[in-house]
């Protein structure tokens, strides 16, 4: 959106001064060329290549000779295993928004108050986000073993009846993974929201209080609207992250048992790297890319536009 807004405005104002206009393009060319070159070589070209590969039946070894048109896409959308994986990504998006948002918001509001040990608590909540996904996955893999630490703690608290086969139960495994993902990423949401809360001026709360607003009203009518841009950015990142989820799932379950915790990305790797169906897996990659791309555009246009409008640098003449 930045370029759209900026360039239209710029062109309109710069039209009379042709020389200045030309110089500006030269400047743009010199400064942007390296970035654009890198962008084209490492992003545009691979995307175009991927689209090309996705129309072939190819095992990665021979020449690209078996052109199949859109058959790979047809197969993907017709494969129950891929549909199941897409469904999992969808559920994850919904779960993230429904559970992580209120949780992170609540904790952020608590941590925003003046209290003893606030910095320590902030560090504790943020710590999991610093861990890599692989380390998180390995740690939870150990904790969630049958008769592992989680089971033993539950039994120790007299809650033995709650013990489950966390990773082996086909109906449960995906929700177990969701808890792990939440544990890992909630810290990031909290930090974002805390930063957003810094931008809510105290005067507004004071004014609201003087007008007789209860603390709930103050939260709902002052804090939340001003936190809106932050929440919308977080939601964007959370949704994209949910669609692309891979590492934690792959290490903890390999997408199993029997596909019960698969995502589009684990399905793609399974087809490409394990089955050497490179052409087909590439078509899955293109679908994944298209989903993220279309979603990003729509989200920018319909949700984020208000937030970024004031923030773009205009090409003032």
């Amino acid at each position: 959106m930045t370029t759209l807004d900026g360039s239209t405005a710029g062109r309109a104002e710069a039209r009379p001064a042709v020389v200045r206009h030309r110089r500006r393009w030269l400047e743009l060319g010199v400064f942007l060329a390296p970035a654009i070159a890198l962008y084209v070589v490492f992003l545009i070209v691979p995307v175009v290549q991927a689209i090309r590969y996705s129309t072939y039946d190819w095992n990665g070894l021979g020449a690209l000779s078996d052109y199949v048109g859109l058959d790979n896409y047809r197969e993907a959308f017709g494969d129950p295993a891929f549909r199941q994986a897409m469904e999992h990504n969808g559920i994850l998006v919904v779960l993230s928004l429904v559970f992580q948002l209120p949780l992170a918001l609540g904790v952020a509001l608590l941590l925003n108050r003046r209290m003893r040990g606030r910095s320590l608590l902030r560090v504790i909540f943020f710590a999991p986000y610093v861990l890599s996904e692989a380390i998180t996955a390995v740690i939870f893999l150990q904790l969630l073993q049958p008769d592992g630490l989680v089971d033993e703690v539950l039994r120790g608290m007299g809650l033995g009846a709650l013990v489950q086969l966390w990773l082996a139960d086909l109906g449960l495994v995906f929700y177990t993974l969701f808890v792990v993902i939440t544990w890992k990423y909630i810290g990031f949401a909290i930090i974002l929201f805390l930063a957003g809360l810094q931008g809510v001026p105290d005067e507004l709360h004071e004014a609201a209080a003087m007008d007789g607003a209860s603390s709930w009203q103050s939260l709902r009518l002052v804090t939340l609207p001003l936190l809106g841009p932050t929440i919308r950015i977080w939601a964007f990142l959370a949704i994209i992250g949910s669609i692309q989820l891979f590492d934690i799932v792959w290490i903890m379950t390999l997408g199993g048992p029997a596909g019960a915790s698969s995502t589009m990305a684990t399905y793609m790797v399974d087809q490409g790297v394990n089955s050497y169906r490179i052409g087909y897996a590439t078509s899955v990659a293109v679908i994944l890319f298209a989903v993220c791309f279309v979603f990003s555009i729509l989200y920018q246009v319909f949700v984020l536009r208000r937030d970024v409008r004031g923030a773009t640098t205009r090409m003032a003449g």
Partner: protein, 426 residues
């Protein structure tokens, strides 16, 4: 300025590439100076030293040939090899498991035909060579071949009142029941990885289908013979008995003490159906870093009244292929050296593998591995693991379908249907 830095970098890269290019052409041009780039998957265990020795000895015997070994972690190897073979500078010598994977590489013209080079000595490794042939031509050579069987805890068997290892499928099922009655987990399995599930189905098919059916199905991918569904039905008998550890669907085969190999190694389960590598895996998963003394081995039970030749086994192994670009005969000479009696004896004596060269079997010291070797040498028919025997895509679909049966999500007929569906896509 960034751009100058970038340009500088580009110039540097170009210069480096030119230097590299000229050096490689120089080495390929002169007959005296050849380099064999050797990709293998041995990153730990006794093989590390053995491989260093092999390379050093071979270089000494063949002045002018340099071996450049590149050890890669196994999973990394599997993802890198297709890309490397596709490139202009593939490794010269690389790990090959034979079967369908080798067929795919051969069809794409990425592996060298070794038939004429190995002709003088290939007979000395016997029937093992067959799994590394395509249309009767030798495209790779094995150096270690083993068979899958049950690794079991003799003490726990005794505790359950089992005097000897089961020989037939009904005996096996009753042994499972007895172990269960004694409060022992009969079988550990690493279903997270899916291929351990497939061992059961593969083996039952090997024990139920005739050799002719097994061999033709690997080429035609026709599974209409009733024996394939029957294999699934026999497997279902076992699954219905609930013989596995708690939460087996999420258990890995080899990582950590709570893996299936770890459970058997630490006395928490009575047996596991696994390959000849299992003692080595178990050793690293015990606190004392020792192969457990209670460990024994028995072959997969025969199924009475079937069309298979009794004593047919499921197995596979490790070998090496030369890429299309490898300098010959240097590459073939190197493979010949790996299969020479001197090296093969050390493959056995160090516990690195099960040697294929006839006359070197005695080098294996471990009594269990000796048993494995005895069965391998006398077996009338060794079927390569099906996921390896078939083209990669079909092999993976097979593992996935069988894993579904283990998870209670597919019937024996559905398993066969899913494998056939995967084969049709090719």
């Amino acid at each position: 300025m960034k751009i100058w830095k970038l340009l500088g970098l580009a110039a540097l890269v170009t210069a480096a590439a030119t230097v590299l290019l000229t050096t490689t052409t120089a080495s390929a041009g002169g007959k005296e100076d050849q380099t064999l780039v050797w990709w293998h998957n041995v990153t730990q265990g006794p093989g590390v030293k053995l491989y260093k020795d092999i390379a050093a000895e071979f270089q000494k015997q063949h002045p002018g040939i340099t071996i450049k070994a590149v050890p890669l972690q196994n999973e990394q190897f599997k993802t890198k090899i297709p890309i490397a073979l596709q490139s202009d500078s593939p490794p010269d010598v690389f790990q090959s498991w034979g079967g369908g994977g080798l067929v795919d590489q051969q069809k794409a013209g990425k592996v060298a035909d070794l038939t004429k080079y190995v002709k003088p000595w290939i007979k000395s490794i016997g029937g093992s060579a067959a799994g590394w042939q395509v249309n009767g031509k030798q495209y790779a050579v094995p150096y270690s071949v083993g068979v899958v069987g049950f690794w079991y805890n003799k003490a726990l068997f005794k505790q359950a009142g089992l005097a000897s290892a089961p020989k037939t499928w009904p005996q096996f099922l009753s042994a499972v029941a007895k172990l269960k009655e004694a409060g022992i987990t009969p079988i550990a399995i690493g279903s997270k990885d899916e291929w351990p599930d497939a061992f059961y189905w593969d083996y039952l098919a090997t024990k139920l289908c005739s050799k002719a059916v097994m061999q033709s199905s690997a080429v035609t991918y026709n599974f209409r013979n009733g024996c394939w569904t029957k294999a699934g039905a026999y497997l279902q008998q076992l699954l219905d008995a609930g013989p596995f550890q708690n939460g087996f669907l999420a258990t890995p085969a080899q990582q950590g003490a709570s893996s299936s190999a770890g459970l058997v190694a630490n006395g928490k389960a009575a047996m596991e159906l696994q390959g000849h590598w299992n003692p080595g895996v178990m050793q690293s998963l015990t606190p004392e870093n020792k192969v457990p003394s209670f460990l024994g081995w028995f072959p997969f039970p025969n199924v009475p009244g079937s069309k298979a030749i009794p004593g047919s086994l499921l197995g596979g192994g490790d070998g090496y292929a030369c890429s299309w670009k490898a300098p010959q005969p240097a590459c073939a000479q190197f493979l010949a050296y790996i299969d020479s009696p001197s090296v093969q004896r050390r493959v056995g004596s160090t516990g690195f593998g099960l040697p294929v060269r006839k006359g070197t079997e005695n080098s294996v010291k471990d009594p269990n591995l000796r048993t494995v070797l005895k069965f391998r040498s006398t077996s009338p028919f060794i079927q390569l693991y099906l996921d390896q025997a078939y083209s990669a895509a079909i092999g993976q679909a097979l593992n996935g379908a069988i894993a579904k049966q283990f998870a209670g999500k597919a019937t024996p007929a559905q398993v066969v249907a899913q494998i056939e569906a995967a084969a049709k896509k090719k």
